[in-house]
Amino acid sequence: MVEAEPRFRQSGDPSLIVRGRGQFIDDVELPGMLYLQLVRSPLPHARIVGIETAAALRLPGVVAVITGSDLARQGLAWMPTLAGDRRPVLPIDEVSFQGQEVVGVVASDRYAAADAAAAVEVEYDPLPGVADPLQALDADAPLVRPDRSERTNLVWRWQAGDRDGTEDDFAKAAVLVAQQMHIPRVHTSAIESCGCVASWDSATGELTIWVTTHAPEGMRVVLGLIGSTVGIDPEKIRFVSVDIGGGAGGKILTYPGYLVAVAASLATGRPVKWIESRNEYMQAASFAGGYEIMGSLAADADGRMRAVRIRTVADRGSADVGVNPHRIPPELLPVSSGPYRLEHALLEVEGVYTNRAPGGVAYRRTARVTDTVFAIERLVDILAHDLGIDPAELRLRNMIPPEPASYVTPLGYRWESDDYVATLRKAMDAIGYAELRREQAERRAAGQLMGIGVASFTEALVGGPSRLFNILAARLVDPNASVGRVSAQYPFGSHICVVDLDGGSGELTIRRLVGVHGIGHQIDPLVLQGQIAGPLQSGFAPALYEEVVYDEFGGNLSSTLLSYAIPRAPESPDWEPEPRPPHGDGAAERISPGESPSVGAQVAIANAVVDALWHLGVRHVDIPITPSKVWSILRELEARMPASSGNARETHLTH
């Protein structure tokens, strides 16, 4: 039996969800609905030699099998991306990442569709691939995208700031610090994967799409751009909002599966449901991160910071799908030089194709907020330790002062009332900073490892996705389109984290994490606590657990929840956030915290770990900082340094 009509109601009602009466995408059921199962590539890079579908078509319940060649006849083989690139809906000649969609099988129920997908035979001729974004820039690297006229894996190069001024500051600086940092790919891994139900009504020409997305506007842009080739009137595309089972930015993009479902509904004249399995989701969708960062900082001998330079190579995967920096409105960028009084800053990002699944915009991770803050806050800590100045004290000396009330950063952002000094001082008072430093010295003398990590951060929130996608749509049509100013908010704050490390096992315990957030008036304290606790967890998780591991050819070794580490309840800290606005609860501005706690927590935790190990000669540890990584560092230090030998600082390990 099927329900005669889907229910229509306000989505996201918690009182319905706790009673099991939410309506998530897999709960949508329409009369006559068919199920789409995708056949995906097991290889990261290969030529498609042939696709054999006859056996699948003979199986009971199978209605259609769709290949790239079928889509090409309709003009649907390729789809545009919001970043101005294109990607195959279903490829004809070549697959360019493991898990890529190759064939769509449509059948009367899930089991029949799965059986038929297993009966499709695709013959591949493996090609050499490249998984490492730095290697992808080598002149002799395999070409990820032979369909482009440019014979390089470089997608784009973007920069902001003053190159000459920055280089001049670096040439004259008394003190320089530099650090290479690897920010691995992570997966948002919402508990619900992606999915949709597409229903084409040939009588009315209406296309209705139920879909688990944060951004139907983005999907409308994509469908609008390709719809005319298959006779869909953009005015007659309707999106139906359902409850979204989590996303963290991973459900912004338009994935090929949605368009295969649309094509399947067009071909069969019936509603078609596509629900991605966890394994498919973790191979093909919702990635964030994937950055190789070289950061450097120029300062005077007394610790006065002059200039920062961050060069990032950003892994885009096999297509540039993100709402990436070179298309993002410039208003998002000026906060990226951090809360410090710098003379110059230079931020450079190179986007690079690799034989990995296309990366996304998830987790505030578009080579702008989280990862730039990570790099700058790591550099500030390294500078402080090199100079023997307390990391909090060095920050306070360099922060933009609350007076004068207006200050313009080297990247052009005008600070009005963001009082970083107050957030850090308040965090220090709340956690008892001076006392913790005394305790640390005592423990260190007793051979125990304790670290204190400080981070000050800014998050950037744009004024609503619909506005952002209007801008993107305008720029896709005309790259020079005038789009006006975007209203944005910049929640900010400071975190201090205390960690204890077990020198024997490498195990790490977060003893405390205190945050002071420059946010507006509290409306609902319990909701605000949730808005802080959740993002703290999503800073904690990539700092210590999460990493999508690829082999050298682009094979994804972390495509199930058995191999991708997500912290569970027993190992997660007890987040008891006490929102602490810098000036009591009377803040005049209405600023949402956004997901700003995740931006600060990740680097505060990393700084705390390095702080615990610095006296042993450790300058940096790449995230995720797992017990085995810490254990290896400690054992390596022991091996290099017999107990009686000299100064540990000489070893300068970097991991």
Binding site: M1, G20, I191
Partner: protein
Amino acid sequence: MLDAERSALPQAPGHITIRVTVNGDLHESEVEPRLLLVHLLRDELHLTGTHIGCDTSSCGACTVLLDGAAVKSCTVLAVQADSCQVLTVEGLSREGGVHPLQAAFLDEEALDCGYCTPGMLMSARALLLRNDDPTDEEIRHAIAGNLCRCTGYSAIVHAVRRAAGAAGEGAANG
């Protein structure tokens, strides 16, 4: 699937008749031996409150009680539930009412997207059936098989603690 198509499908020789009591109601179904319990609940009985989040029994979104024990219904065959009592999130509360656990999840803002919530509720229910006054650590271990990506777990722990303290919990159905 259209009924016409369903009847056109050849009846696999191995179809098995099972009788499962779900939320107090007896259901008789003829199922393929490979049919998962979660698909029996969702696709055949239309109890869509039990969610599917993974394919390796890792996430716990599909947790239901099978004869009082929390199980992941994506890893139980429907035929294994023959002659058993199944309790799903829809059965926690009777018509229009709210179970103390459900009320506590609402009061403590213990859900954001809500996708993991039904599984969390059922694991918490199984805990409170065997321990009506758990410590926070016992709560965290009881939901160790349930992943949440939104809350950071603290609010969920608070909600289970609140429900345990709520009067009449011991007499609640289940």
